[in-house]
C-alpha cells in the first residue's frame, strides 16, 4: 500500500504539491486566528497603519489587524464555498444520475438545468439573494442553485456513457432495481469525475462569494469575508493599499490552488484529459528536436484511433 502511494506521488508530483499548498492554506485559516491578533478588536488610535511593527499587514479603518482579519475571513469564505461545493455536488449528482438513467424525467430535468445555466452566475445569485434576503444562508442557497446545473450536466453525460456498459445490462436483466443500480454500479464509477467538478466548483464559488460580498449581498459585516473586506477597504484604496491587496491575494492564491488541484485530479481520472496532458508532456520533451515530437505525436494519433 505504501509503495503504491509513493509511486503515485512520484508520478503525479504536481498534484502532491498543490494538495500540500491547499492543506497549508486550510490549516493557516483554521488555526491562524488562534495565534494572530483579535480580528474584531477595534482601536481608534491605530487606524489605517501601514505594514510594520503594529501589524504585519497594517490595520484597517477601525484599527483592526488586517492579517488577523484576512485569516478570519478565510475561515468564513472557505467554509461557505466548501458548503456550496458540497451541496451543489450532492444535488447536482442526484439530478445528473436520475436524468442520465431515466430518460423521460431526464429530459425535463435537463431542460430546467439549461434554463438555469442561461443566467450569468452573478446575475442569478443577485436575483436569488434579493428574493430571499441577504445573509449567509441565502448566499449558500443562491450559489448552490447556480452551480448545481454545472455538476448535473457533467454527471449526466458520464452516466449516459456508463449506462450502455455490459454490466449494467446484466444487472438490469438480473432484476436489480433502478435506484440500486444507480447507487451500486453507477455512482462509484461517476465519483472521480464528481470529485473533479466539486473541487473546480469550490474555486468558482470562492470567486462568486467574493463578488457577492463585495457588492454587499453576501455575509454581512462585521463578520469578515475576503469580498466584504475589499468592499470595506475600497474608500481607503489610496491611503492604505495593503488593506485592499491582502484579501485579493488571498482569493487568488486559494482559487489558483483549487483550480490546479481540480485539473490535476482530472488528469489522473479522466482518460481524455490524460491523453491531452501526456501529449503536452511528450511535446515538451521533444520540443528541442522537432523531428522526435512529430514521430511520437503520429504514434499517439494512430494508437488513439485503434
Amino acid at each position: 500500500m505504501m509503495d503504491r502511494i509513493r509511486s503515485f506521488a512520484r508520478a503525479h508530483r504536481e498534484l502532491v504539491v498543490w494538495m500540500t499548498v491547499l492543506v497549508v492554506i486550510l490549516l493557516v485559516c483554521v488555526l491562524g486566528p488562534a495565534f494572530s491578533a483579535d480580528a474584531f478588536a477595534q482601536d481608534p488610535l491605530r487606524r489605517l497603519l501601514p505594514p510594520g511593527p503594529g501589524g504585519v499587514l497594517g490595520t484597517d479603518a477601525f484599527g483592526r489587524d488586517i492579517l488577523a482579519r484576512v485569516l478570519a475571513a478565510g475561515r468564513v469564505s472557505l467554509s461557505i464555498a466548501a458548503i456550496i461545493a458540497l451541496a451543489a455536488s450532492v444535488v447536482g449528482s442526484a439530478i445528473g444520475m436520475v436524468s442520465g438513467y431515466a430518460s423521460a424525467a431526464g429530459a425535463v430535468l435537463m431542460r430546467a438545468m439549461d434554463a438555469l445555466m442561461a443566467f450569468p452566475g452573478i446575475v442569478l445569485s443577485i436575483a436569488l439573494v434579493t428574493a430571499i434576503g441577504p445573509g449567509e444562508v441565502s448566499e449558500v442557497i443562491a450559489l448552490t442553485v447556480v452551480f448545481t446545473p454545472l455538476i448535473a450536466r457533467v454527471v449526466r453525460s458520464r452516466v449516459l456513457s456508463l449506462a450502455t456498459r455490459g454490466y449494467i445490462t446484466a444487472a438490469r436483466s438480473a432484476g436489480m432495481a433502478g435506484w440500486k443500480i444507480l447507487l451500486v454500479h453507477i455512482l462509484p464509477n461517476a465519483l472521480p469525475i464528481i470529485l473533479v467538478q466539486a473541487v473546480l466548483v469550490f474555486a468558482a464559488a470562492l470567486l462568486l462569494d467574493g463578488t457577492l460580498s463585495f457588492l454587499g449581498m453576501g455575509v454581512q459585516p462585521p463578520t469578515p469575508t475576503w469580498g466584504n473586506m475589499i468592499a470595506e477597504a475600497r474608500p481607503y484604496l489610496v491611503i492604505a493599499p495593503t488593506f485592499v491587496i491582502a484579501p485579493g491575494v488571498a482569493i487568488i492564491l486559494a482559487v489558483v490552488t483549487l483550480n490546479a488541484l481540480g485539473n490535476g485530479i482530472r488528469d489522473v481520472v479522466d482518460p481524455r484529459a490524460r491523453t491531452l496532458s501526456n501529449l503536452i508532456r511528450v511535446q515538451r520533451r521533444h520540443d528541442t528536436t522537432m523531428r522526435g515530437s512529430r514521430r511520437s505525436l503520429a504514434t499517439k494519433g494512430s494508437l488513439s484511433r485503434g
Partner: protein, 314 residues
C-alpha cells in the same frame, strides 16, 4: 439543414420560456407579501392594497403566471416602482453601454488570444509558452472587482493616465469613450484572454492528433505553415463556441464592473434596483441578460453549422 435550424429554434423558444418561468418563481419565493416588501414600513393598508392590485397579486398563481408570460411576449415587463413607468424602456435605455463594453472586450480578447496561443503552440516547451500557461492559471483566478480597484489605483490615481470612472458614448465622443472604456475593457480581457487561450490550446493539441498533419509535414510544409494553415482553422471552430458560452461570465463581469466604474448600463441599473427593491427592474434585467446569452449562443450555433461542413451537409 433547415429542419436542424428549426429544431434549434424550437429549443431556443423552450429555453426562453423556462428562463422566464425560473424568474417568475424566484421573485415569488420572497417570504411574506411582496406588496408589503415593496411599499415599505411606512405604507398604509390602503397603499398596500392598491399596490397589490397593480401587481396583480390578487389573482391565483397560475393566472399570474400566464399573465406574466403573455406580458413578456408583448414586451410588457411590468411597471418599475421607482421610475413609475414601464420597465422595458428603462432597461433598453441601459443596454447600449453594457453591449459596447461586452463586445469590445470580446473582440479584443479574441484578437489577443489567437496569435498568443498559436505562438505558444509552435514551441510548447518554450519560454513564451511557459509564461503564458502560468499567467493564464493566475488570470482565471483573479476577481474582476479586485483587479479593477488595483488598476484604478495604478493607472488613474498614481499615473493619472486614465479617468477613475465615467462613461462617454463611443458614437458621439469616440476619444472620450476610449479613455473611459480602457480600464474596464482591460479588466474584462484579463479573464477572457486566459479562458480563450486555454480552450484554444486544448483544441489545438487535440487537433494535433489527426493523421492529416503527417501528410502535410510529409509534403514538406514547415511547422508554422502546418499550424497556421491546417491546425488553427480546424481548432478554431470548437473554440468559437467558447466565445459564446463565455458570454455569460462576461456579462456577469460587466454587471459588476459597471458599478465600480460608474457606467450607466444594465449592471448599474440592477444594483440600483436591488437597493430600492424594484422587482420589475430586477426581473426584467435578469430576463434580458439571460435572453441575450441564449440568443447569442443560438447565433454561434448557427454560424458553427454554416462553418462546419460536417454539420452543413448532414
Amino acid at each position: 439543414m433547415l429542419p436542424l435550424i428549426l429544431r434549434r429554434l424550437r429549443d431556443l423558444v423552450i429555453v426562453l420560456i423556462l428562463v422566464a418561468t425560473a424568474i417568475f418563481f424566484i421573485v415569488r419565493i420572497i417570504p411574506g407579501d411582496p406588496a408589503i416588501a415593496i411599499a415599505g414600513d411606512q405604507a398604509t393598508q390602503a397603499q398596500i392594497d392598491a399596490l397589490r392590485q397593480t401587481l396583480g397579486l390578487e389573482a391565483p398563481l397560475w393566472l399570474q403566471y400566464l399573465q406574466f408570460l403573455g406580458g413578456l411576449a408583448i414586451g410588457d415587463f411590468g411597471t418599475s416602482t421607482t421610475f413609475n413607468s414601464p420597465a422595458l424602456p428603462i432597461i433598453l435605455a441601459s443596454l447600449p453601454p453594457t453591449l459596447v463594453l461586452a463586445l469590445t472586450a470580446t473582440v479584443l480578447s479574441v484578437a489577443v488570444a489567437v496569435p498568443l496561443t498559436v505562438a505558444t503552440a509552435l514551441h510548447p516547451g518554450g519560454l513564451l509558452a511557459r509564461v503564458v500557461n502560468r499567467t493564464n492559471a493566475v488570470a482565471v483566478a483573479v476577481p474582476e472587482f479586485w483587479i479593477a480597484l488595483i488598476l484604478t489605483l495604478f493607472f488613474a490615481v498614481r499615473l493619472r493616465l486614465l479617468p477613475v470612472s465615467g462613461y462617454a458614448d463611443p458614437f458621439s465622443d469616440p476619444l472620450g469613450a476610449i479613455r473611459f472604456l480602457a480600464l474596464p475593457v482591460i479588466v474584462l480581457m484579463i479573464n477572457q484572454v486566459a479562458v480563450f487561450s486555454l480552450n484554444l490550446r486544448e483544441s489545438v493539441i487535440g487537433e494535433m492528433l489527426h493523421l492529416y498533419l503527417r501528410t502535410a509535414r510529409a509534403k514538406g510544409l514547415r511547422e508554422r505553415v502546418v499550424l497556421v494553415r491546417h491546425v488553427v482553422p480546424n481548432a478554431a471552430l470548437p473554440a468559437m463556441t467558447v466565445v459564446g458560452l463565455n458570454l455569460g461570465t462576461l456579462l456577469g463581469g460587466v454587471v459588476v464592473l459597471e458599478t465600480i466604474f460608474v457606467i450607466p448600463g444594465l449592471g448599474s441599473l440592477l444594483n440600483q434596483a436591488v437597493g430600492t427593491r424594484d422587482y420589475a427592474i430586477i426581473q426584467g434585467v435578469t430576463i434580458i441578460v439571460a435572453a441575450m446569452f441564449v440568443l447569442i449562443n443560438f447565433l454561434v450555433d448557427l454560424a458553427y453549422m454554416f462553418a462546419d461542413p460536417k454539420v452543413r451537409v448532414s
